[in-house]
Symmetry: C2
Subunit: 252 residues, 2 copies
């Protein structure tokens, strides 16, 4: 009998929608489908691939969830299914759910945030343009308004960190940074709303944000990275941890 040491890998039982998926991915990987290109209409794909429309649609749904596609009804340009590029939407969604599932404990998320935002800030300090600086400054200044409601403060905070991530001009780093930041958005807002000494916390955050901005504007990569990392870690350590308890209630 033949050599049995090589495990009898079970034949990957492919579902037809996975085959459709594979065909489309082929085109993408091979570079034949590029951002902006239109896919054939669903009904044509059905004929071309010899599968049901449901199978085609399930494959398209997957790609859409990954931010690779965008579908619109109707005729004419901008209709139909086109290759798009919205990686951070897909990333954000994915992280959000897995964080909720506690596959990713909050401490892990903070560590990841610290790592990513530190690196992003360093890139920003190195590469930021005048335009990029302005995008960082805008939410920074809006946050200085002491009467700003907490929810909008949180939004500006998000914008601030997003602007830094994008200033580094590295889409992958930025998208991951943004996705992780977005994934904790709700948690932060909850924490904000539970705070008694809101004004004290807010002014601390403002001060840290200003310092970060200055470091980036000055092109001081080391300081920018250190300040951001301390900002992220400190905030979660000192503020969020004391408050967030009931989130993700443990099983009975």
């Amino acid at each position: 009998m033949a050599d049995m040491t090589a495990a009898w890998e079970p034949v990957p039982r492919s579902r037809t929608f996975e085959l459709v998926l594979a065909r489309i991915e082929e085109q993408i990987i091979a570079g034949r489908l590029r951002v902006g290109d239109r896919l054939p209409p669903e009904r044509e794909l059905v004929d071309m691939l010899g599968v049901s429309r449901a199978a085609v649609r399930e494959a398209l749904r997957v790609l859409e969830a990954q931010g690779v596609l965008r579908s619109r009804v109707g005729t004419g340009p901008s209709s139909g299914t086109v290759i798009a590029a919205m990686p951070d939407a897909g990333l954000t969604q994915l992280l959000r759910l897995h964080i909720a599932l506690a596959n990713f404990p909050m401490d892990d998320v903070v560590e990841a945030r610290a790592t990513l935002e530190r690196a992003s800030a360093r890139l920003a300090a190195e590469l930021v343009t005048e335009d990029g600086l302005e995008r960082i400054r805008d939410p920074l200044l809006r946050m200085d308004d002491a009467s700003l409601p907490r929810e909008q403060f949180n939004d500006c905070d998000t914008d601030f960190h997003v602007a830094i991530a994008e200033a580094g001009r590295n889409r992958l780093m930025a998208d991951m940074t943004i996705a992780v930041r977005n994934a904790v958005r709700h948690t932060l807002l909850t924490a904000f709303n539970k705070l008694d000494d809101w004004e004290k916390v807010a002014s601390r955050l403002r001060a840290e944000h200003h310092a970060i901005y200055e470091a980036i504007a000055a092109g001081d990569t080391q300081a920018a990275g250190d300040l951001v990392e301390a900002h992220v870690r400190g905030f979660h350590q000192d503020i969020v941890k004391k408050i967030t308890d009931g989130t993700n209630p443990p099983a009975p």
Copy 2:
């Protein structure tokens, strides 16, 4: 007339599968659905939600693509649709496509790899257990075999970096690190296969790997991080860049 400055955000035209998605996510975010739990059978969801089975299935496909679900046919335990946790599968897939779409230029990917693997190595040096060290050592030693085919060398290389990422005991960091490493797996293999002076490159990689291992084993966070970052950057800079040209052929 009322204030018009607030943009007339178009009502988000929700498709029914998105509503189904939202309901399921609700349960997850609220913690009522946890890893290991089973969802009702598709047909029951259809009755409960008052939508077609196609809509339910499209929603489930999305969650499956994100690594949140796992479906199996048949009866009995382990069949049906259950909440699972396979974040890195979803992440890897997502990054792979977007890298292919050149939404993420290779330089950006290298930067991200350097950042993530540096952080992972630091965590590993700090937290690794004896068991974790062994998981790192195993692929390391297998790579020492000079007769190892390039493809398997690449697999071991992947295993080595994955083992380091997992030794830091931070699932999110590890999954992102793994996903990015996997996303360039094909690119690296292609580069390997084009090399003329393979043995020279291989021994350089071996040496760097051993040094990294030693630093982690010694608990030297600084050295571990620096070595890994240099390893990642140096490899792409010196090896891959010289060789990889035709990948992702430019549009005509």
